[in-house]
Amino acid sequence: MSPRIHGRARWRRRLAAPESAPTLPAALLEPTRLHPPGTAIRQGAYPDGVPDEPQTTPWQYTTLYAPGDTSSLAAIADYVLCVARRCAVGKAAGGRLRLAVEELAVNAVVHGYGARRGWLALVGGGDGRGAAMVQLRDTAPPFDPNSVPPPEGLARPWRDQRVGGLGIHLALSSVEEYRYQRVRGENRSTLLVRRREEET
């Protein structure tokens, strides 16, 4: 039996939802598991202040629900960096995880939801062995970032550079592992980082 994830009401207080934002989709309220079934998970509340000590067993924070617009980026960054600190992956790897989550979140908001208002749900945690993980969920139309080919002509002169389209490439380049799933009308992106050798 997977543990229930609480904390939604708390996050609703922190993140004032725009008046026009729809009610949270039922799918996003389903619990997220970052670890294989049967794994004992230490469930932790996302701390308001200084994050607690690094964990040596699998764990995950409560879910962050954020309105699907760019005003949520600061709160998303706080959450992801808190996950990274608790996993003790280091500043550089934490920054990479933040970058990857943010790029995918912005992509879901701008290209997935577009003019519609939606929500993002994040769950972060660690495996207790030095990996930091975040799962990002949205209810936008199906989109698998793996299906996007690498941008061409990165070495072109500036006049031939594309103005956009780098975010997905950056996101997937920033993490050690990435998994996409489409489950019950949701896009689920699970991202994992570890400290890299050059980051020690």
């Binding site: 500036w158 550079q161 780098l166």
Partner: protein, 118 residues
């Protein structure tokens, strides 16, 4: 040096301009920062983009750099970039921009041969 927004200071003197970015450049503020810089590039022959105080940059910041360089190429202005921290080097490396930018290694606009374009 005048503050145009909380993440951008800009100064220009005799055609030489400095755009000093700071804090976090994300999708929430990147487009506005790009507009503010581009609006001030008329008559500029030399621009240094100082990123020393930038703590974090997403692809929105890269878009700003692309737009600045495109405009500069069109007008013949020379652009240098300074103050690259490891996080910024990482993302610029990932998209190949390290090979395109001309990096200023000090206040006198000296170009770094490792990444400078001839």
């Amino acid at each position: 040096m005048s503050r145009l927004c909380s993440e951008l200071d800009f100064s220009v003197c005799d055609g030489a301009a400095v755009a000093r970015l700071s804090g976090e450049i994300t999708s929430a503020n990147g487009p506005r920062i790009g507009e503010l810089v581009l609006e001030r590039l008329d008559g500029v022959t030399q621009l240094r983009v100082d990123l020393a105080d930038v703590e974090y940059m997403s692809s929105a910041g890269l878009r700003v750099l692309v737009l600045i360089h495109r405009r500069a190429e069109a007008t013949g202005a020379k652009v240098t970039v300074s103050g690259l921290k490891p996080q910024l080097r990482f993302i610029m490396q990932a998209v190949g921009f390290l090979d395109l930018i001309t990096e200023a290694v000090d206040e006198s606009y000296t170009e770094a041969p490792a990444h400078g374009r001839p």
